[in-house]
Symmetry: C2
């Protein structure tokens, strides 16, 4: 089965926006056992759209085209594809009514320009759009004049805005794909997320015992990013569920607490879950991460139940006044030191009246490094009911990566402590 994606839009070719559809759509397919074999981005001119669709039709069983279904003059996808396939466009009464209602609900009159969005190529299925005005369109191109043997292809057009594309894909396209392109075999995919272990050490640790899974046709993919390595297990066949389960058990035995979650879990969502389950609270004292730990934790819905709050103690006076760092410690050891990190964590736990507290102090750069404490030096302290631990790390990356990696290390230490307590 050959699947291809075509993303249209001048904003992509000018580099004004990041193409997040590519990753999102590829991931949706891959997690269900379908691999996208090609993704193309082209400008939103009729010749570019026509050429890329014609080429894709010559190869692929399924083609997803994103963008260009809106009401403005540079929305040409619907038109270009209808012309390419020699289909006429006809106004669809239900779509027209939906568009009018969409505007009436918002106490506005539907602009004349939106009428074009109710046009549907003959024979196309309409994929309704509860989050916007442009419907998606799906058509089976049969016979397919561009393909050898005229073999049929499915051509699906989706609106560009992610808020509209994503639910439409989940509600209509994925079911259509599973119906039209049933997998010969059962397919199972599971991603295990690890932290605190590098890719090469990890590989060495698991290689030998994963050999049977691989020899039997399973696949194991590594995806490393700063501070985190994901392991992706996939297997096809009647026994897929059982075999992936066994491989997962092997990995869990070998990697133990390095595995922090599965599939879409993040370190922050796991930490919020663990704190919630244990009815424990957290406070933060951040210097060099500058609010990044708080920001990531508060991205998790429900964080307010466990996060008491935090301090961003950039100025030394704030370290003293707010979380009780002593002048002596600052004078003797400097703000970036084990002693100060410890005082910050214990002070945050006390002032925040929380069960746990994380503190970080370090040198994010680009400036501020010294030979003894180069840029990237960081102390992470973790105060808990039983004790306070301090971890010295070295993260000599650019500033945003430094903040992100340090945040991950701090959350991971808290996670390990919660599991141990």
């Amino acid at each position: 089965m050959i699947f291809e994606i075509i993303n249209t839009g001048n904003e992509l070719m000018l580099g004004l926006v990041l193409n997040t559809h590519e990753q999102w759509l590829c991931r949706q397919f891959a997690d269900r056992g379908y691999i996208v074999s090609r993704q193309v981005a082209v400008p939103d001119t009729a010749p570019d759209i026509e050429q890329s669709v014609r080429e894709a039709l010559s190869r692929a069983d399924l083609i997803i085209v994103t963008g260009g279904l809106g009401p403005t003059s540079d929305d040409l996808t619907r038109d270009a594809i209808a012309r390419l396939l020699g289909k006429s466009l006809k106004e669809d009464a239900a779509v027209r009514a939906h568009i009018e209602k969409f505007f009436t609900d918002r106490k506005r009159r539907a602009p004349e320009s939106t009428r074009v969005q109710a046009l549907v190529p003959e024979g196309a299925l309409v994929l309704s759009n509860p989050n916007g005005t442009a419907p998606g369109l799906a058509m089976e191109v049969r016979p397919n004049p561009f393909r050898s043997g005229q073999a049929a292809s499915w051509l699906v057009m989706l609106p560009g805005p992610p808020r509209e594309l994503k639910p439409m894909f989940a509600d209509f396209v994925m079911p259509l794909v599973e119906r039209s392109f049933p997998l010969a075999d059962r397919f199972v995919c599971r991603t295990l997320r690890t932290s605190g272990i590098g890719e090469s050490v990890l590989q060495e640790k698991i290689e030998r015992l994963m050999k049977p899974f691989l020899d039997a046709g399973g696949e194991l993919g590594y995806c490393a990013r700063p501070g985190q390595v994901d392991l992706r297990l996939t297997r096809r066949g009647v026994d897929a569920e059982k075999l992936v389960g066994e491989a997962e058990a092997v990995l869990r035995r070998l990697l133990r607490a390095h595995i922090f979650g599965t599939n879409d879990e993040t370190l922050e969502s796991v930490v919020v879950r663990l704190l919630t389950e244990r009815k424990k609270t957290l406070a933060l004292a951040e210097s060099c991460t500058g609010g990044c730990i708080a920001h990531r934790l508060t991205n998790v819905p429900g964080a307010s139940v466990v996060l008491r709050g935090g301090w961003v103690t950039y100025a030394n006076e704030m370290k003293q006044k707010e979380v009780g760092v002593s002048e002596a410690a600052l004078a003797e050891h400097g703000a970036v030191s084990e002693v100060v990190a410890r005082q910050m964590a214990e002070g945050a736990r006390r002032a925040g009246e929380s069960d746990y507290a994380i503190a970080v102090t370090g040198i994010a750069g680009p400036g501020g490094g010294t030979p003894e404490k180069p840029v990237g030096t960081v102390f992470i302290a973790l105060a808990s009911p039983k004790k306070t631990e301090v971890f010295k790390m070295f993260n000599p990356w650019d500033r945003p990566t430094f903040k992100d990696v340090t945040t991950g290390q701090a959350l991971n230490q808290l996670r390990l402590r919660l599991l141990a307590d």
Copy 2:
């Protein structure tokens, strides 16, 4: 001139990583007057790479291929392209020495597998890689067997890691492009970034007076994202600089303080710059943004000079204890109220001993909304030496977008105040 980009990598087709190269490379070209007409992502198998390179060679004057130059078994770009073009690979002594030195500097022995990275297709230029081991490669395909009239094409291969690709592109590829494909005309591009005004209102405001610039061949592009609209002015020709300058002057007159910066400036970088120039300091009291304002400000190098620090006052007790919100205000008006926002800002300014303070309190959702205060309700307070202002906003988006948009609004209010004071 036809430019195309080919991104190779199974991790792209599986949706495991976001393709940031596409945007970055397209933007580099576009800002210098070159438009990429097609971008393709393919798996890292030899047939896929060969097919996509062959197709691109049949159309394009310049092709950038990213990824697949590493030492492992799935790094096939170098090989596949050499085979496609019938070129032999020869070890380059200088590259070999660079790789060995790279490892020696890190007190490690160069693994045998890295030798393959020293192989260079005959006739190719080597683009040295100070940030990694794999060099880039550039070759002029002349004659080009895949193109009508055998017209020559440039084929450039770059390593996948962004830390290696970006400096190599800036140092070697862009100069090569400007030498090999000089623009017939001078090209000028300027992006003006606006905040606090929606796309349609903005368009209405500027349309009439921008007509002369457009009629004379200038281009004006809009790029809207939550809370921000970018205006991109471009013009070709001998007078390009002058005409873009004039158009910019018109826009500045019409939009005034809505324009917060140019090109790569962000709201946070502008705020840090304005505070630094005025020798003023800032403190933050964040509830619903949960550290996002602090996080974005501390992404700016030098933020430590102006940011005293902040509080993430998630729990009501922290609002009282840390930034002096009164129990009466909480009881009478609730945590999400104008009165509490004002007390938070004034308390943060006092406790942070800063010139300015921002406070936000609101309902990020998905839970916590009421009929009177639905999800998305937020109060932004700004305390300054002269007065405290409170702005009520309604940002009914998903949680991450809510935090991001609210942060932008808060930074923008501070920016406007700094300009007025």
